[in-house]
């Protein structure tokens, strides 16, 4: 396998120096009331890179604000159509200024001013058509493979996840970190039982304490919720306890030292392995930390992830708006039933048809072709899920980033 440091691609240069591997027009609804019109506009552009994201809530929320701002200025995003009803709390002045500052084409349509549903759809469609023509003319610049930020998540896990796909991602992560990539893993609720082990991997003692506390926070939070980060399907798939699921999940991060802790919307400043803390701070205010897998993907993307490595045992089918999802199937039986949705078959390890090392290399090869423009299975099938809920966070403290 080529030295990863030397692999060159091309990407779309953004004003902050980051480069995108896609050039997407995002239609961002700033309250649920304009979600329908966002979808209607997007429906005219089904096979083109026009993705809908948004925040449903009418009440204000600093976390949602931070994530939406981060996603509208994500390296994979070329232009933004903001949709407002007119009376919602979302700070539309701030988000449009943030986007303007990045020299991206942006416009805001407010339904109550524009004249309602038909007017918004007509105006929105016209704007998207024009901006797509503009973006098509945009040239790419040289990009080093290790400028990519890669995140990982597991969903629909069963006991094979922790034996095949997750350790394979861990191995791939180890190689990526050595080549200078910034990579990240999350779901501290799935590190319960491993807080000491993880703290020892921190690059500073202070960070070790922060990582330890993040897991303790997660254990307390889920205990109050009454549910661990554990779905009935996990048990059907052979996982019995959260500690068991943790061991499997934890292996996705690999063995590199941990360089920092991020909160959603924090962008890593240099390469290394990062833990994304998705569990809110303080007493539970808004319910479960992440109501589904897509909510976790939104937060990984808000931290700058260009690509998501998604491992699954039972068979997740989701993709995502904004960043391509590479689906890695841990279970050979699941792969046999759902191969159209799976980019990589890590289940081969259980059949003695491949080693962890083989699958890790397949994952990296897939990252290269996807970064070069090849569609993942979920992109090809049209999946563009997006979920963003209310949360409350304290900012990441000084010990969090080295």
């Amino acid at each position: 396998m080529d030295d990863l440091k030397n692999i060159q691609l091309s990407g779309y240069l953004r004003s902050d120096g980051r480069k995108g591997i896609r050039n997407i027009v995002v239609i961002a609804y700033l309250v649920e009331c304009v979600h329908f019109v966002a979808d209607e506009i997007a429906s005219y552009f089904k096979r083109q890179p026009v993705h809908v994201i948004g925040f449903s809530g009418c009440y204000p929320n600093a976390h949602a604000d931070k994530v939406m701002n981060a996603l509208c200025t994500h390296p994979n995003v070329g232009a933004v159509l903001l949709l407002s009803l007119g009376c919602e709390s979302f700070n539309k002045k701030r988000i449009i200024e943030t986007i303007i500052d990045t020299n991206r084409p942006v416009t805001l349509i407010t339904a109550q001013q524009a004249g309602g549903t038909k007017a918004v759809i007509k105006e929105g469609k016209q704007w998207v058509n024009e901006v797509l023509r503009q973006l098509e003319k945009q040239t790419k610049v040289p990009m080093s493979l290790n400028e990519l930020v890669v995140g990982t998540i597991c969903g629909g896990s069963d006991a094979t996840s922790g034996i095949t796909a997750n350790p394979a991602v861990g191995r791939a992560f180890d190689k990526l970190v050595k080549a200078g990539f910034a990579v990240m893993f999350e779901e501290t609720g799935e590190m319960i039982g491993l807080e000491n082990h993880m703290a020892k991997r921190a690059v500073t003692k202070e960070l070790g304490t922060v990582l330890y506390n993040a897991v303790v926070k997660a254990a307390k939070y889920y205990s109050i919720m009454g549910h661990g980060s554990f779905a009935p399907g996990n048990a059907d798939g052979g996982l019995t306890t959260i500690e068991e699921k943790s061991m499997g999940a934890y292996s996705k991060g690999g063995h590199s030292p941990i360089t920092g802790l991020l909160k959603p919307g924090d962008i890593p400043r240099h390469g290394g392995l990062y833990l994304l803390d998705v569990v809110p701070d303080g007493e539970p205010m808004f319910g479960f930390p992440n109501i589904n897998d897509s909510a976790e993907i939104s937060e990984l993307m808000a931290c700058g992830c260009h690509i998501i490595l998604f491992t699954t045992g039972r068979g997740s089918i989701v993709g995502s708006a904004v960043s391509p999802v590479i689906k890695i199937c841990a279970n050979p039986e699941t792969y046999g039933r759902m191969k159209d949705d799976m980019d990589i078959n890590a289940g081969k390890i259980l059949l003695n048809e491949a080693t962890l090392e083989d699958i890790a290399n397949e994952i990296i090869e897939k990252i290269v072709v996807v970064a070069n423009g090849a569609a993942t299975c979920s992109e090809e099938l049209g999946h563009r899920e997006f979920v963003l809920s209310y949360k409350r966070f304290e900012p990441a403290g000084p010990a969090c980033l080295s």
Partner: protein, 96 residues
Amino acid sequence: MKSLHKNIIQLHEKDNVVVVVVTLQPGDTININGNGITISSSLGIGHKLALRDISKGEHILKYGIAIGRASEDIEAGMHVHTHNMKSDYIPTYTLN
């Protein structure tokens, strides 16, 4: 990680459970510690079988670490799951 048999894997030498790697049907036999065990109900990939006798209260070891405790006495070859094992942290909810 070693294959004790083509149907099961022991992930770590300290483990007292093994993981099933092909779906097992009632009547299938596998070899655990020199004993032939006959499977009595179907077991999906990923489920655990006891590698040796485990007493109530004893830790279940997988990946070389404790993943919970036996909630009753378990015999070698028995299915180990929510009916005879529980978390040291948070209860497990299942589809019932």
